[in-house]
């Protein structure tokens, strides 16, 4: 089965944004193609066009030299184009089998046989009769893939498939995709993760600001070269931090931090002790779910624990709530940008006002001083290069990177002495990650301290002066970052010990 898919001069313009600008690409079966680009580069729009969800303003699609019209998802199905979306298109309350049968014209018995064959062939293990909401993300994705396979697809498009998968699930997925490719299915793999492109794909097309900027064989590419193409500027390496905290004063001292929870999904913290100097960055590594979010909440004051002592600038603050802690010049950037750090339905300036109840004159006699808040917000947007100057924009329309810049900016503009952040660059693209990292390094150089809790070891090694690992609610000994290697961290994160 030989399939040739040609996209010719596809354009799609949204108000205020050119999502696709005369995109032309060629694909042939037997290979896995990567479509690479930052968030907002136009990849998702392109695949929505290919799957019939969105109609292009201009351009044509040819499948095996035949001009095909993709006016609806049904058209894509008819032309054997299968699509696995980043946000699953599954019905959570229906069973796996019901999800599969809903768009199949086959009889139930026939379909069940077919699905069982597919399960066996690709070694998928999924119970067909349980509701989808009981499945893990990896299993849900398999259901989506099976749904495509039922229709004997010629083309299979995967949109950011690994963003929700564990490492093991990712490996399994790659094995399956390579199998599909061998069987003649044309695979288009959309991602912003560079390592995946090199380990999985044969050819790579890079998109930037709606345009295709390069098409090449992955053998000729390296991570750096792809990153540069993707971001469009020579990234170089970000600047190295100048350490100047060695002789500075201690700013934070935590002793005897214990936390016991009745909730089985929370982790108990056992006897944590650490301190932090002015201008220092402490990195806390660990596999997620080992007590990081509890530790963050205790530091921020969302959880108040008994008998714990938190001395911050010579004051005992362990009983203070988050707002009071902010008044003592602590700042926090939580893990979940959408549900913890910002209210997506509120406008940018409203979100800015949320954590500044007292420090400024935002509120007078119970009334909101909109003008002051907006001026202040504009300052944050420009100082922290958020990609908009419209403070009236609802926060949900900001991309992840811009939202994180806004959140960090909101925290830093009040010049706090300590910033605690939790996975500050989770899910962001290279450009935004570098920006956030430089910002965090800058505040250390200005003599402010930071605690970075992160599951990304590269990030920690880049930012931290000292590093420790949290495992099952306990902290490892705190090490000088220059003596730490990724291997050492890996051992500690798995519960082993080093010496």
């Amino acid at each position: 089965m030989n399939t040739k898919l040609v996209i010719s001069k596809i354009s799609k313009i949204y108000p205020g944004c050119i999502a696709n600008d005369k995109v032309s690409l060629e694909f042939g079966s037997g290979k896995i193609y990567a479509l690479l680009g930052e968030n907002g580069a136009g990849k998702s729009t392109l695949v929505k066009i290919l799957s019939g969800v969105v109609k292009p303003d201009e351009g044509e699609v040819f499948l095996n030299n035949e001009n095909i019209k993709l006016n609806s998802p049904l058209d894509a199905k008819k032309n054997n184009i299968g699509m696995v979306f980043q946000h699953f298109n599954l019905f959570e309350t229906l069973s796996v089998f019901e999800n599969l049968s809903i768009d199949s014209s086959k009889k139930n018995e026939e379909l069940r046989l077919l699905v069982n064959d597919i399960l066996k062939k690709y070694n998928f293990k999924i119970d067909l009769d349980i509701p989808v909401l009981n499945l893990s993300a990896g299993q849900k994705q398999k259901v989506e893939i099976i749904r495509c396979l039922i229709r004997n697809p010629k083309v299979l498009i995967m949109d950011e498939p690994t963003s929700v998968l564990t490492e093991q699930e990712t490996e399994d997925l790659f094995v399956s995709l390579k199998k599909f490719s061998k069987e003649g299915i044309l695979i288009i793999y959309i991602t912003h993760k560079l390592k995946e492109v090199l380990s999985l794909c044969d050819e790579v097309a890079v998109m930037r600001k709606g345009k295709v900027v390069s098409v090449s064989n992955t053998k000729e590419e390296k991570i750096e070269s792809l990153a540069n193409k993707m971001v469009g500027e020579n990234l170089g390496t970000i600047k190295k931090k100048i350490n100047n905290f060695k002789n500075s004063v201690e700013i934070l001292k935590i002793s005897n931090l214990n936390f016991r929870s009745d909730d089985p999904y929370e982790t108990n913290l056992i006897n944590l002790n650490f301190s932090l100097k002015k201008g220092e960055c402490l990195g806390i590594a660990g596999i997620s779910g080992n007590g990081q979010s509890e530790l963050f909440q205790i530091l921020s004051g969302e959880i108040i624990t008994e008998n714990t002592s938190i001395m911050f600038r010579q004051k005992e603050i362990s009983k203070l709530n988050p707002r009071e802690r902010r008044e003592y010049l602590m700042a926090f950037s939580p893990e979940d940008r959408i549900s913890q750090a910002a209210v997506p339905e509120l406008k940018i300036y409203e979100n800015v006002a949320l954590n500044n109840f007292k420090s400024s004159n935002f509120f007078e006699k119970g009334l909101v001083n909109e003008k002051k808040i907006k001026e202040h917000s504009k300052k944050i947007l420009s100082n922290f290069s958020v990609n908009t100057d419209n403070v009236e924009l609802k926060s949900q329309f900001l991309s992840g990177g811009n939202l994180q810049k806004l959140i960090i900016g909101r925290e830093l503009i009040t010049s706090p002495e300590l910033l605690v952040c939790f996975n500050p660059t989770w899910g962001l693209d290279v450009g935004a990650i570098n920006y956030i990292h430089e910002t965090l390094i800058n505040i250390n150089e200005q003599g402010k301290s930071s605690i970075v809790i992160s599951t990304d070891n590269d990030e920690l090694l880049r930012l931290s002066d000292r590093i420790c690992v949290i495992y099952k609610g306990k902290l490892s000994k705190i090490m000088d970052a220059s003596t730490v290697t990724p291997e050492k961290l890996g051992v500690l994160m798995g519960g082993g010990s080093i010496d």
């Binding site: 979306f85 298109n89 019905f91 309350t93 809903i102 909401l133």
Partner: protein, 310 residues
């Protein structure tokens, strides 16, 4: 008062009759809600069905036309709701409330000329068998065809949702209209159909009241039954069989408390009148406690406005 066995049979027959409008309206609304649409206009659609059924009966002297007309009028007024919420994307709750207020006012206006006119006798089936079988006779026989339909409806609805392809599509749309649309399902068509079906069932429920249960027109004669039907759907966690149980309990306690009032028990009348509401909710909450089932049966997109990406 003698408690002979036939009396209990008659009592049960009366309970069944009083629960018919609730079953019809609730089963209709259940389908609407399963597609993700929250139509709070049940009371309004019911009362429009009641007046148009009665008016048609008076004008045409044909009961069949009257029943069909009541369903059609319920359906027509639900089109207003469908147009507003599905095509013009208005808020479901506000639009539904407006529909109820509109229906009550409209029915009062049309009904002015029909107050005090006696109804026509509705044909009952198997009347001769009613007396011949002790106890079961009054329960099983001597009812209108609409009652038999109403008692079949929850089972049909259940079968439709669980075992048919169209039922599956309705549930899928209620779960996630966006996913359904991406799968090539015409969400608007499904939701329009479900809203219109719900409207027709509410119209039929109204006709049962004005043509059979109390065959006459009284202003505001639905008396909040539409709201009870709505509550039944939610407290029955969108399960048609539990809707039937809930409707019977409600009807049962309504009739029983009337008898208790007649006996002259020393319990405040207000408390007795409130009893059906309280008991129905308690029972339904108790039998619907399985949180897993609640999650599976609840239409995730209920009340959410859906619009298609262009």
């Amino acid at each position: 008062m003698s408690f002979d066995i036939n009396f209990i049979g008659i009592l049960i027959g009366a309970i069944m009759a009083s629960s018919v409008p609730l079953i019809l309206a609730a089963c209709g609304e259940l389908i609407t809600e399963r597609s993700g649409v929250l139509n709070l206009g049940v009371e309004g659609m019911m009362i429009i069905g009641a007046i148009s059924g009665f008016a048609l009966m008076v004008v045409t002297d044909n009961l069949f036309l009257a029943v069909m007309g009541s369903m059609l009028s319920g359906l027509i007024i639900s089109i207003i709701f469908a147009l507003l919420t599905q095509s013009l994307l208005t808020n479901h709750v506000a639009t539904g409330l407006a529909l109820t207020i509109f229906g009550i006012g409209m029915s009062a206006m049309i009904g002015k000329n029909f107050v005090g006119i006696p109804g026509k006798e509705f044909p009952l089936l198997f009347v001769n068998l009613k007396e011949s079988v002790p106890f079961f006779g009054p329960i099983i026989f001597g009812h209108s065809i609409i009652l038999y339909f109403a008692f079949l409806l929850p089972f049909l609805t259940n079968y439709f949702l669980k075992n048919t392809k169209v039922g599956l599509i309705v549930r899928a749309v209620g779960d996630s209209p966006t996913s359904a649309s991406n799968q090539g399902i015409n969400v608007l068509l499904v939701r329009y159909s479900c809203i219109l079906y719900g409207g027709a069932m509410c119209g039929l429920a109204g006709a049962y009241l004005s043509l059979i249960y109390t065959p006459q027109w009284i202003e505001n004669m639905t008396g909040g039954r539409g709201w009870i039907a709505l509550a039944l759907v939610v407290f029955a966690t969108w399960s048609p069989i539990k809707v039937l149980i809930g409707a019977l309990i409600f009807g049962g306690i309504t009739i029983l408390q009337l008898h208790m009032q007649a006996i002259g028990l020393r319990i405040p009348v207000q408390l007795l009148s409130a009893l059906p509401y309280i008991m129905t909710i308690i029972v339904l909450v108790v039998i619907s406690r399985d949180s897993r089932k609640i999650k599976l049966n609840t239409p995730t997109s209920l009340g959410q406005i859906f619009y298609k990406e262009k």
